[in-house]
Symmetry: C2
Subunit: 924 residues, 2 copies
């Protein structure tokens, strides 16, 4: 027969830390604290009913296993013995709390009932225990009735009520009404008589509402409480939370029944929360707050200002209050020793709940403390230095989002907490921003030039908007997905961006937008964006920023990261400025240099014009002449970036987009172009139209341009080789990797290589140079290329997976068009995640695996990397490590995130292999 | 040491038929005819120099193996002995021909030299041999000089000349000039004196042109001839031919040196060509033609009308001429016996070249005779009946294109031969057609209603053109590829169609088109199309047709086909009419019924309007109401087709195209719709615009519609099930297979299945029916679906590969947009074929293999088919057999082709396994 109840207390426990699946996080932790020989902390004794009971309960139509009752009674007897009190005893009653505890923490999602065992009959005993503190005892009884009515009778009883009409609300109103009537400002002013009258009123309310009496029987209360906790596992909020956090429904919760201790038994009692290190900064200092004569819920409620436990914990609000260290020096000392023990034992910063009942310290709970990004990094770096943890653990202690948090300015969380969002979209570019709304790229540029901070609001963006996007503080679009043009560009720049914000409707003609809640935002109005969450606020919210270069802990932490990771990290960078940023963030090369960038944004007028001239050429001769004019721009552009990246590889991708992307869309610009090119505008339109495609994604682009117009590839090869050659002549190291995009078969690469080899000879001879180092490789971004990778690797010296396109073609999802169905897919759990954000390992990952394995079957040491957006996504980076890539490449602002994820991949791998060893040892 | 020379003649031979690789087709055949005990035919003796010598020749800088000279001399001695003549002998000279012969026939691509060994010195000997026929001898000498100068001295000498300026042309002009001067109309009128003067003139011309004398030495002539044949292997035309026919360059050619026999030695001499059966009809009758006193080249030249060899071979032109049977009865009888022997030996219809020299019959060559489709089918069926060949051989005797030839009306080849094409495009829909040119779908409909035959000429077609396309005799587009809308639709209908005809430029406004050669074709002008070749003619060319139902041979042949094939063949059909056609062509079910067809073409007004209403609905409620109105149309549509196909499976695909495909494109129609729907036109435009997509191919379509609007799937499920249920109640057998399109993961199918199961119960209960048979499956047309087929098969009971989309996504080729680069790809041999025509086995085929294997790993007896255009492509059908599909589905007009290809797949497999057995036996 299974054991369903695990006792803890008095320096021993049935369970321990490793039994989280059975006892829940809380139960396992209490057992550990109570029973582990290194700890044996003063935990109020109690017992935990296992998660198996919860599973049983739901499988058996809300019945308990038959043996449970007996086990609970036995355990309770042990508690009574330890405490010297008796459950339901009128002279010296034992009161208990009933709490939930799932395998993984679900803070606030399930229910708790306190003060169970308190009845009219046992009240006098409690008064006696509190040295005649009648007010305390009646207040405890009042609290029990309120909580019980709410949690057990109403919620667990399945009574449906309208929002704000629950029993709890009614009771709160009665309480408030009494306070008002008596002119009280605080609950503590309530007299015994007041409490008695409230208790009587509450009991009446219970009877009226539920048609039965408040159960004034300890055992009925106890089983009611236990049942309510189990019921709360399937409460609406808990179910929702699990869905979001991906916690399986069948895990179930444990229930912990534990002796009540009271921090509100008088001035010698207190309750508090402490952290073994500062959770806001990471500083290695004992930090905490407490309240004299209060219960835990008072601390959480935030009605009274808590006092600092020590000098270190003082803040402006609490500086005048007495520290625990001063007020109860011996208790503080005891607590201090305990927190040291706890951190040493758990090897992580602990969040400790404690209560002092009549001068006696109890530890109610301890758990790994939450911390922000700055603190996480500092703690990890410090604990590694202190040899508390090893490098792998340090790396796992910081989450990717905490790294991101460190990198970006953000809206001040305090300001956000008090401001209502007016709209919500997809968080495409993290961080925060504020600015005045503009609706066109031109306006963004104009306003920005006047020194205004602007936020560009558009339905969608296109390459023509790049100038305005660049000038804007942030971008907000009403359409498009996480990998729409706006999202891609913004992420590349580390710019705050929200896309697909369907809550807003834009009126471009009259330059305003309205939100779902009816707010109208006009051009020039201030808004603020939280690009990490996707929320839009009206007005200008303050920003907070961090400085990494002088953040010693960050630098130390990243050294640990770099020590253990195996995957190299490069950046996608198109300009010397981007390249410098990339180096600053620790990039070890450029994994994607897009030759087409020079035709967008600042300084692009002349090259774009020449490109358009080339595109509009009717004959090869015309095209060659335009290309010749374009050549110096391309060469200088490449040379400048190669120069910044001396000693590092730079992967230069040949022209990728379909040519029509560069053709002006509007009549006016087309007219101007016609004039400049001296082509009749109708003829020009005809040529432009002939470039239009039904599915440009699958059209005439990438290497297909290089095959139909070999002279375009030729010009680019020449530019790369001359740039590299000139640098070598200047005594500089350079390593260009020439990358052919959009290939689907090896003969495409071979075709381009013939041109390259010819140009190579010509350049070497022109520059009088023997050798220019280079690699010649390909993107793998078309399913067929991955499937025939053994052939591709015959021609390609390296592969760079273009997972954006691979995902588009592998799924048949156009990333520009997924907005109309992907939300329904996620909503209906058809697919777990947006595959453009995190690599779909099952399908696209399979293509990548096939590609790498087949590629290396031909060329053993084939260099393999990834240069899509996924290169900056932590889960995807880990996948890249797992499948044996050599490097990932991501936007400069993501380099640190990728380095960290790469290190975590190694740490996770190590942990898994250790676990496997453990398992196999056990088997022996 | 390798043997380089193989002798034949006098009833024996060193080689035989099986040595084609070494001796070339001609050499092996001559050896077989001369030496095989069953044959021992009167072949002029000679010898063959092996293809290895050719390879050696090109590897060793055009030098021969040292032993060759001796071997040639030895072989020639044997010939001399047999013929009783001597090479170079002035009294009784032996003359020989030197001919090429590759492993596979390359007709007319390589060179031949005749009459070698004829010199001023040996001329008298030849005169003696011809009983003093001086004219004959000088004419032979004249021919030798012309041929030798052209082939050996100029072409093989590498002398480059402008077109029309070659030595041959110059000599021809000299000959013509002489004839004109003498008022001759025929070469035969040339006197001995004339010939002597020509010979002298020719020799001067040779000296002038090449700076050296015509070699009047037999051995120099012989080696020159041999060298010229080897040289011609790498001649421009031969190289091009090999490229087209995919013949490897390193095969090389053999050279056959053979005794000259002369059909022009007088009235007792003749030359002719005969076939063991009629190559035009397949009738089992000896058929042939001959010319008295002529050389082989005279027959080919077609200057004189050849006479029939027997009564059967008479035609209106030749009916008056004496038959060989009458003229030389004993020679005819000998020939008749030989042809019987040959067919029995080779078990196929033989094409025989013979020469009669002074009453003596010589067989110069025999080979498998070319035949047209009708004849091929008849011969195969007959020979199978005659037990000459087995079923597999019969099936292999007919090519797919011959089957196609049988199915379609075609332009009269005679008319085509005398008409110049005005343009050439891609042959998208085979067969022939003629009609008057119209430029819009509306015009096509209007003119057709007036009884005019029209050809619709457009830049490209769209679903809105379907009406006009249907009414037109044929379709001609200036843009688009082999799988453009026009091509697909036309092929589905078995309609003649030429696409991507860039030779024409359309002026839609003024309704005319111009061709590259300047021809202007106006609306109403007649043109004729050969859709098999892609040629366009001005005017109305006659058509020829075939009748299959009364073609007994065809019916017999298809029975053989059906007996051996394993793959089932279904048809893609959307209407009862199509379904009937499909049955007529032998379809065993419908593999693709497109629900959307009912919104195109005739009778679609009402359903299309309702569909548009549904599309333009703003709420689910509106949508449901429109769907309800649409329901009866859909149900009746499905029911009618199910009824036709009683007892056969019908795979019904849910709505596939993106919704915007159904939204009217032009302002006027949109206005009308707005009025009918009572929606403001601007609002309507907004809604229409919101449906537009950047890459509709990868957009909101297929199952994605069913997930965002489950009510659309629901309506379709209900329509299918009610249709099937009602038929069952009417006592009819029906087997609908419900097919979910555009799936990329199994949960999509599961999502739809939940809806289906609910509707199934509702329909069963409504119709009071216990069970409606059905299968529930999916298209596999997205790479991810193939890669995760093990998962897909958990939900899908059948797979149908949509290889069009699989090719689009696998290659990243939008079939609407490949026109801009695919021609360059084919041209540059980047890919061997248009992958939309024939499955790319290496890449897309790999996806299919993975899909089938993984699918069957989950569901062992998973039904697998294909329903793309490839289902009607013979090579692709064979691939489908190889990878273990259960069926292919193609357009009704392709069903016979697919059945035949499926049978060939089995035959080829059997042959391969026999060959393997042979090889392994040999090894033992």
């Amino acid at each position: 027969m299974n054991k369903f109840v695990y006792f803890f207390g008095g320096g021993r426990a049935d369970g321990n830390e490793s039994m989280k699946e059975l006892l829940g996080g809380k139960g396992a932790n209490l057992a550990e604290m109570a029973g582990h020989p290194d700890l044996r902390l003063p935990v109020p004794p109690g017992f935990t009913i296992t998660t198996e009971v919860c599973t049983y309960y739901y499988k058996h139509n809300k019945k308990y296993p038959p043996s449970l009752k007996k086990e609970v009674e036995t355990a309770l007897k042990k508690v009574e013995k330890l405490m010297g009190r008796k459950f339901g005893d009128k002279d010296n009653p034992l009161l208990v709390s009933v709490r939930s505890g799932a395998r993984r923490s679900m803070p606030g999602m399930m229910e708790t009932v306190l003060n169970i065992g308190l009845t009219e009959k046992t009240l006098p005993g409690l008064i006696k225990q509190s040295n005649g503190n009648e007010r305390f005892a009646y207040d405890a009884y009042r609290r029990l009735i309120m909580m019980y009515a709410d949690v057990v009778m109403e919620k667990a009883g399945g009574i449906e009520v309208e929002d704000g009409k629950g029993i709890r609300k009614t009771m709160d109103e009665a309480l408030e009404s009494l306070k008002k009537q008596k002119n009280y400002t605080s609950d503590t002013q309530l007299s015994v008589e007041d409490l008695k009258s409230l208790i009587s009123e509450f009991k009446n309310l219970v009877k009226q509402r539920f048609g039965r009496e408040f159960p004034d029987d300890p055992w009925e209360q106890l089983w009611g409480g236990i049942g309510a906790v189990f019921a709360s596992w399937n409460g609406r909020r808990a179910v929702e939370y699990r869905r979001i956090e991906k916690i399986p429904d069948d895990w179930g919760t444990a229930v912990t029944v534990q002796t009540m201790v009271f921090g509100n038994m008088g001035e010698d009692s207190a309750t508090g929360v402490a952290f073994t290190r500062n959770p806001g900064t990471g500083e290695h200092q004992f930090y905490g707050e407490y309240l004299i004569n209060a219960q835990g819920e008072d601390v959480v409620a935030g009605i009274r200002t808590p006092a600092p436990i020590n000098e270190y914990s003082k803040n402006p609000q609490s500086a005048h209050l007495p520290t625990l260290e001063k007020l109860m020096p011996s208790v503080y000392k005891q607590l201090y020793i305990i927190q040291k023990k706890l951190e040493k034992h758990y090897k992580d910063m602990q969040d400790i709940e404690f209560t002092i009942e009549k001068g006696k310290l109890f530890i109610l709970q301890c758990r790994v403390g939450k911390r922000n990004g700055v603190a996480a990094v500092r703690m990890a770096a410090d604990m590694y230095k202190e040899k508390l943890i090893d490098a792998e653990t340090a790396v796992m202690r910081v989450s990717s989002s905490q790294i991101i948090e460190l990198l970006l300015p953000m809206l001040d969380p305090k300001a956000e907490a008090t401001t209502k969002a007016i709209a919500k979209g997809l968080p495409a570019g993290p961080g925060g921003a504020r600015g005045r709304v503009v609706f066109t790229s031109a306006d963004a540029v104009e306003w920005a030039q006047k020194g205004e901070k602007v936020i560009l609001v558009r339905e969608e963006t296109s390459p023509e908007d790049v100038d305005g996007m660049h000038k804007a503080e942030a971008i907000l679009t009403s359409k498009g997905g996480m990998t729409s043009h706006a999202a891609l560009v913004a992420r590349g720049w580390g710019k705050c961006c929200i896309v697909g914000c369907s809550d807003i409707e834009i009126n471009l003609a009259e330059k305003y937008f309205t939100t779902k809640d009816g707010t109208i935002i006009k051009e020039g109005d201030w808004i603020s964006l939280n690009g990490t969450k996707g929320t839009v606020y009206q007005g200008s919210l303050p920003l907070v920023d961090v400085d990494l270069e002088h953040n010693k802990s960050y630098q130390e932490f990243m050294k640990i990261v770099d020590k253990i990771r195996k995957l190299k990290v490069r950046a996608n960078a198109d300009t010397p400025r981007d390249a410098k940023t990339a180096l600053k963030f620790g990039a070890e090369g450029i994994g994607l240099f897009r030759t087409e960038h020079m035709f967008y944004g600042e300084g692009s007028d002349k090259p774009l014009f020449l490109l358009r001239k080339m595109i509009m050429s009717k004959t090869e001769e015309e095209r060659r002449s335009a290309l010749q004019e374009l050549f110096p721009f391309v060469k200088n552009d490449i040379k400048a970036t190669l120069e910044v990246m001396q000693g590092f590889p730079v992967t230069i991708r040949l022209l990728d987009p379909p040519l029509h992307e560069f053709v002006p869309h509007d009549e006016e610009k087309l007219l101007a172009l016609g004039k400049e090119l001296n082509i009749d505008v109708n003829e020009l339109k005809r040529r432009a139209d002939s470039l239009k495609e039904n599915n440009p994604m699958l059209g005439h682009r990438g290497v297909r341009l290089g095959i139909t117009y070999p002279e375009i590839s030729e010009m680019q090869f020449r530019a790369i080789l001359e740039a590299a050659g000139e640098l070598i002549l200047e005594g500089k190291k350079t390593m260009p990797e020439i990358m052919i995009p959009v290939t689907c078969c090896s003969s495409e690469i071979a075709h381009q290589r013939v041109i390259f080899d010819r140009v190579y000879k010509e350049v070497c001879s022109k520059l009088k140079i023997k050798k220019i180092p280079f690699m010649f490789g390909t993107m793998i971004e078309i399913p067929r290329a991955a499937l025939t990778a053994n052939k591709m690797a015959e021609e390609a010296e390296f592969f760079s997976f273009g997972t954006n396109d691979l995902t588009q073609m592998g799924f048949g999802f156009s990333r520009d068009d997924i907005g109309s169905f992907l939300p329904d897919y996620i909503e209906n759990k058809i697919i777990p995640d947006d595959p453009f954000q995190t690599i779909d390992q099952e399908g696209i990952g399979e293509l990548i695996s096939i590609g790498i394995n087949r590629g290396r079957s031909t060329r053993k040491h084939l260099e393999v990397g990834i240069c899509g957006e996924h290169g900056g996504d932590p889960e995807s980076v880990k996948f890249c490590h797992k499948v044996g890539m050599n490097y990932v490449s991501c936007s400069p602002f993501r380099v640190a995130v990728a380095r960290h994820a790469a290190a975590q991949a190694v740490a996770e791998e190590k942990k898994q292999s250790t676990n496997k060893k453990k398992v196999s040892k056990k088997r022996k």
